[in-house]
């Protein structure tokens, strides 16, 4: 804007101030920086700009230490709650995938039904859509499997005078939709020959429904928490802006651009988000290790296998992104409300 000829500086350098306003004078000579005829610098948004902005952001963060660290802790806690939900849901999903593989349905016929009746039921099942490979299981076969299942405890069955088990027909349920599968098995349960229907997948489907509810509840809770975090970050940045309003005013009159003034505040918010995310990552890892230990001990006690896995990389990236995004959002809210440049 104002053209800087660059010449008076050299004359000034050779003209040390003296009393009476009579400078001693001196010939113009180039400055060691080579700025003699340099034009008024044009602000460039380059590496130097962002390095300075980051340095100022760090300085602002450091100077407002306690409030900033409290904000970092709040971000970390909110993201940890999000991470805990993600961990729970991710492991529940994996467990359910395993359970869903077992789509075997067993129908137990009434005690008076014989093998011929069982074969008729089998043929009838073959005509029903969504059902695959029905197999008849005699009471003897059923007893054999029961003994196998009881293992060393199978001796308790030796006291029975007669085999109490009825004929059974097993088949694979091909229907993937839980509601349709439930309707199908309920319909079969109404058949005259059928005493009971055993379908393990129903439990998996019920669990899946519960997990879905937990998922939505987790999403709603996380959304509420994360919104609160954005407002907390915004408040911290507001305090920084208010604490630095004199500096901002001075910079404005020196010719600072909007970017020069605003970007350090944005970096400051993002820095809080990044630190909060890393802390949340550590806390979530701690939770995972604790939960895995509990699962191992439970598994050992009940003879179950409860494998657990940590969050997949995509989920971890999302967590970090959320932290950074919240920092950015909080800064932008404050800047738009409290910093007019």
């Amino acid at each position: 804007m104002i053209r800087n000829k660059g010449s008076w500086w050299d004359r000034f350098r050779g003209a040390r101030p003296s009393r009476g306003g009579k400078p001693r004078g001196g010939a113009a000579r180039p400055t060691p920086t080579g700025h003699v005829n340099a034009p008024t610098p044009v602000f460039r948004v380059g590496g130097g700009f962002h390095r300075r902005a980051m340095r100022r952001a760090w300085r602002q963060f450091h100077e407002g230490s306690l409030s900033h660290w409290i904000t970092v802790m709040v971000i970390a806690l909110a993201l940890t709650i999000y991470g805990a939900f993600a961990l729970l849901l991710s492991n529940a999903n994996t467990a359910m995938e395993g359970w869903r593989v077992d789509n075997t349905v067993t129908i137990f016929l009434k005690k008076q039904e014989d093998g011929k009746q069982a074969e008729r039921v089998k043929k009838r099942l073959e005509d029903v859509a969504g059902i695959g490979s029905p197999v008849v299981s005699s009471p003897e076969q059923g007893m054999g499997r029961l003994k196998e299942l009881l293992g060393t405890e199978a001796g308790v069955l030796d006291g029975l005078e007669e085999n109490p088990l009825p004929y059974a027909v097993e088949f694979q349920l091909l229907e993937p939709d839980p509601a349709k599968a439930a309707a199908l098995t309920s319909g079969i349960a109404q058949w005259r020959e059928v005493e009971a229907v055993s379908f393990d997948r129903q439990w998996a489907d019920r669990l899946a429904a519960v997990v879905t509810v937990v998922r939505y509840a987790g999403m709603a809770l996380s959304a509420l928490l994360l919104s609160a975090v954005a407002l907390i970050i915004s408040n911290t940045i507001k305090l920084t802006i208010l604490a630095r309003r004199e500096e901002v005013e001075v910079m404005r009159f020196m010719g600072a651009t909007n970017s020069f003034i605003k970007i350090p505040f944005i970096y400051e918010g993002v820095l809080q988000g990044v630190l909060g995310s890393f802390l949340a990552l550590g806390l979530t890892s701690g939770l995972f290790l604790g939960a895995r230990q509990v699962a191992l001990e439970l598994g050992r006690a009940f003879g179950l296998s409860l494998p657990m896995h940590f969050l997949p990389p995509l989920e971890l990236g999302l967590m970090m992104g959320l932290g950074i995004g919240l920092g950015f959002l909080g800064s932008m809210i404050s800047l738009s409300r409290f910093l007019e440049v």
């Binding site: 804007m1 660059g6 500086w9 003209a15 009579k22 400078p23 400055t31 009159f253 651009t257």
Partner: protein, 231 residues
């Protein structure tokens, strides 16, 4: 360098700080703006660095009407003006060096050029040995010199100062004016608001007197004919 053409400045409260002010400060000139408190001197300076906009009339700085500047051009205008405030406006949580360096950072100078330039500037205002202190540890005169160093470190072609010696004793005021004189001798255009009439008269530079928002005395050098076409 600076042209005011029939400038009026009314604040939202209705107070009219300037009432038809016209004058010109040529490039390389050294002028004093004098007058009693409330005469409108500081308002004139605020219009120059575009902290305020005229309600009527035109203000031209270095050939550009400040009213017509786009938001992106305003920082460029301000980088070409070294402003020295009566209350110094120094940052007391930073060292003397950092206060001066901030002006160079704002102007986008390369990081590696800043320390040398800041040290040279502080040397010229006689504060090199105090550059690591906080301004709060300095006397009023020294703080004023830090403010001057900050204003000139980017070598702006125009230097404006609002009562730069208002809080200083006579010898220190004299020393500060010597510094401005040296800057002027080096080619900078200087406009200083001052109420120290004795010192102003002693230095002998042209003097624009103001009273009640109007110019009451204008030296011949500032009476350059103006028309709206020149704005």
């Amino acid at each position: 360098m600076i042209r005011f053409h029939n400038v009026h400045l009314r604040y939202p409260t209705g107070y009219e700080a300037l009432k038809g002010v016209s004058f010109t400060v040529p490039r390389g000139g050294f002028h004093f703006l004098t007058g009693h408190s409330g005469a409108g001197k500081s308002s004139v300076l605020k219009l120059i660095y575009r902290a305020e906009l005229p309600s009527e009339g035109g203000v031209v700085v270095d050939g550009r009407n400040v009213e017509r500047l786009t938001p992106k051009q305003i920082p460029l205008l301000r980088r070409g003006i070294g402003v020295i405030f009566q209350d110094y406006k120094l940052l007391y949580d930073r060292s003397v060096f950092e206060n001066v360096a901030l002006a160079m950072e704002v102007a986008g100078h390369p990081m590696d050029k800043i320390p040398g330039q800041v040290q040279r500037t502080l040397e010229y205002v006689g504060l090199k040995d105090r550059m690591h202190l906080s301004p709060i540890a300095l006397s009023g005169g020294e703080q004023q010199r830090v403010a001057i160093a900050r204003a000139i470190v980017n070598r702006p072609p125009l230097i404006i100062a609002d009562e730069p010696t208002g809080n200083l004793d006579k010898p220190m005021a004299r020393r500060i004016f010597d510094l401005f004189t040296a800057l002027h001798q080096s080619g900078a255009t200087v406009l200083i608001v001052s109420h120290d009439l004795d010192l102003v008269a002693e230095l002998g530079f042209p003097q624009i007197d103001m009273a009640d928002g109007r110019i009451t005395q204008l030296p011949a050098s500032t009476r350059v004919p103006l028309t709206p076409a020149t704005l």
